[in-house]
């Protein structure tokens, strides 16, 4: 089978997969009452922006701000390879097909970036043309410079694994592109971005694609890209518990040296330590806890006097029941099949857990309610 056929099959399969994912949230009701009106309104606003641009963007905002917006919009994405994990068995030994598949995939990625950049520039065009007096040539050069930035960022992300190095390199690339756009005249700017794009494309098409050494990283990127819509849907689903994400190899902040919480060893203290540490190191639980507190603080601050205390009582009930559910979940871990605990200590451990997590949050909320009441009197 040729690389072209494989890519075609994989693009079709992925298109169907993503379509099914979108269908799971966008049924005909959503399409009719949200998507279609939204697209109609967007088209109407776009036409209006060409006629009354000052309603959408102030001419006192410097061009630099718009450039930053464009660069931020260009930071995401990955070069796709359309590799699958099973390719390690079925494809990787067919080097010419394997390399060709990666080359074609790069071409598809580059075309997609081109279209997406064209869309971004089209959206910004009314502002660029009417407020900053960009000509057609200037707008096209800006699109090329921004594309070069996006290619550069995606290349940096592909090459460097260390987060700090990546951040530093991407910041450097952003500063360079800002300087290029702001201080280099149009024609040399065009030349620099064309040469830059040419070098990056050559590197990807003839160097990066001709290697198998990054196979597993490339498969991981593919998985990440394939499930991006599913992640997006889950991120906005309030009923779905979010996973804590990829776990580090050791604790970064909480009890870094694995030190005990209690001085006296006992069955109760052992289990309390376990649930407390598991709770405090679970990003999703801690963020839910912080969100509950943050929302309640906001509600107490803005509501009238008597409502503040009703909010506090509501918080007390809700926090208590959420913590009880969380505690039950922490104790239902299959690890307890390996190291069972004495079920009789569940109640005293819940009391200890509640004392530490619930009472501290209630104490903070009560202080906020008292201070807020005094300020509103």
């Amino acid at each position: 089978m040729s690389a072209k056929t494989i890519l075609q099959q994989r693009l079709t399969t992925e298109f169907r997969f993503q379509l099914n994912v979108l269908r799971s949230v966008v049924d005909w009701v959503v399409l009719l009452y949200i998507v279609v009106p939204f697209l109609t309104l967007a088209a109407f606003f776009y036409v209006d922006a060409w006629q009354n641009v000052s309603l959408y963007w102030s001419d006192s905002i410097p061009f630099f701000a718009l450039l930053i917006v464009l660069l931020i919009l260009s930071v995401g994405g990955n070069f796709r390879t359309h590799l699958l994990e099973a390719d390690v068995i079925f494809l990787i030994h067919l080097k010419s097909v394997y390399y060709k598949l990666k080359q074609y995939s790069f071409l598809v990625s580059a075309i997609k970036i081109g279209f997406s950049m064209a869309l971004k520039i089209m959206c910004l065009a009314p502002i660029l043309v009417h407020i900053y007096d960009f000509s057609m040539l200037d707008t096209s050069i800006l699109a090329l410079e921004a594309s070069m930035f996006q290619f550069l960022v995606m290349t940096i992300r592909r090459i460097y694994r260390n987060t700090y190095v990546r951040g530093l390199m991407i910041s450097g690339a952003a500063v360079s592109v800002v300087l290029l756009v702001l201080f280099v005249p149009s024609v040399p700017g065009l030349f620099v971005s064309l040469v830059g794009l040419g070098i990056i494309c050559y590197y990807h098409a003839f160097v990066m694609t001709r290697t198998t050494s990054r196979f597993y990283e490339e498969v991981a990127i593919e998985d990440y890209e394939r499930f991006r819509y599913i992640r997006l849907i889950l991120a906005y689903s309030t009923e779905v518990e979010k996973s804590g994400g990829k776990q580090a190899s050791h604790p970064a902040f909480v009890f870094r040296r694995s030190s005990p919480i209690f001085k006296t060893p006992s069955k109760e203290n052992g289990l309390t330590t376990l649930v407390l540490k598991a709770f405090l190191r679970n990003k999703s639980m801690v963020s839910m806890y912080a969100q509950l507190m943050g929302l309640t603080i906001g509600a107490i601050m803005i509501t009238p006097l008597w409502y503040k205390w009703l909010v506090l009582i509501g918080f007390s009930f809700f926090m208590n029941s959420w913590l009880k559910a969380t505690f039950t979940k922490l104790l239902s871990n299959p690890f307890f099949h390996v190291v069972p605990y004495d079920k009789q200590i569940t109640d005293p451990v819940w009391a200890q857990f509640k004392k530490m997590i619930y009472l501290s949050s209630f104490f903070v909320m009560a202080i906020v309610a008292i201070v807020s009441t005094m300020l509103s009197l």
Binding site: Q247, H250, P251, S258, P265, L271, L274, A278, R281, V339
Partner: protein, 234 residues
């Protein structure tokens, strides 16, 4: 008796039983090998003994046990040291004695340098070693060991066998499921051959050879003979 099993049926739902009519016992100071092909019900049997699956009919008499699962299980967000600290809190043992045992076991299984790391980030073999350390830190009456050799390096495998021997000499009963039949033949005192959810034979290697008609046959060959008349498809 360290473990006594009299099981009429067991499975993951009431309509589909995986195991039927299983009766056996493990004596103190005895290593029993549970030998079966994939999907025959080894892990289901162990889970039934532990009481962690619903549809079980029968009786199990199990003393204080230690369990080594087929797939390592850890508590998310706890370091190796914290797993061991929790284990210590569940046992009636002085912290000095426990720490001594921890020191020896983590040294034997080369885990001393990763005590402050999350076991979930370890390789499969290292995770399996953590499970062994947790089990051997207990002074249990019976050890239920499900596929202990998976992912272990030869040195750790040797250590595991030494610990099994030590626990056996201390009077513990050991029930071990494995596919590594040549090792099982050397280590186990007795075997239970499980096929299609039922026991097809149980006894010593001598008994198995006699029943299979292979006087000098290995456990591997005898198992093949004893199960060849039984349909593999359930």
């Amino acid at each position: 008796m360290a473990l006594e099993v009299d099981l009429q049926s067991s499975g993951y739902n009431a309509h589909q039983n995986v195991l039927h009519d299983i009766q056996f016992a493990v004596e103190p100071g005895e290593v029993v090998g549970l030998i079966a092909p994939n999907g025959a019900g080894k892990s289901t049997l162990i889970k039934s003994i532990l009481g962690i699956i619903k549809d079980v009919e029968g009786e199990m008499r199990l003393k204080d046990y230690a369990y080594i699962p087929e797939r390592p299980i850890f508590y998310e967000g706890l370091t190796l040291k914290e797993h061991l600290d929790f284990l210590s809190s569940t046992l009636d043992i002085s912290s000095e004695r426990f720490n001594e045992k921890v020191e020896k076991l983590v040294r034997d299984f080369y885990l001393a340098d990763v005590m402050l790391q999350y076991p979930e980030s370890f390789s499969k073999g290292m995770q399996q070693k953590v499970m062994l350390v947790i089990a051997f830190l207990k002074e249990a009456a019976v050890y239920l060991i499900d596929e202990p050799f998976m992912g272990l390096d030869p040195k750790s495998m040797k250590k595991l066998l030494q610990y099994v021997e030590r626990k056996k000499n201390d009077g513990a009963g050991i029930l071990m499921t494995t596919h590594v039949l040549d090792t099982a033949e050397k280590v186990c005192d007795r075997f239970i051959l499980l096929f299609n959810g039922s026991i097809v034979f149980q006894g010593t290697i001598k008994d198995i050879r006699k029943a299979s008609g292979l006087k000098q046959g290995s456990l591997f060959d005898c198992f093949d003979v004893l199960t060849e008349d039984t349909s593999y498809v359930r």
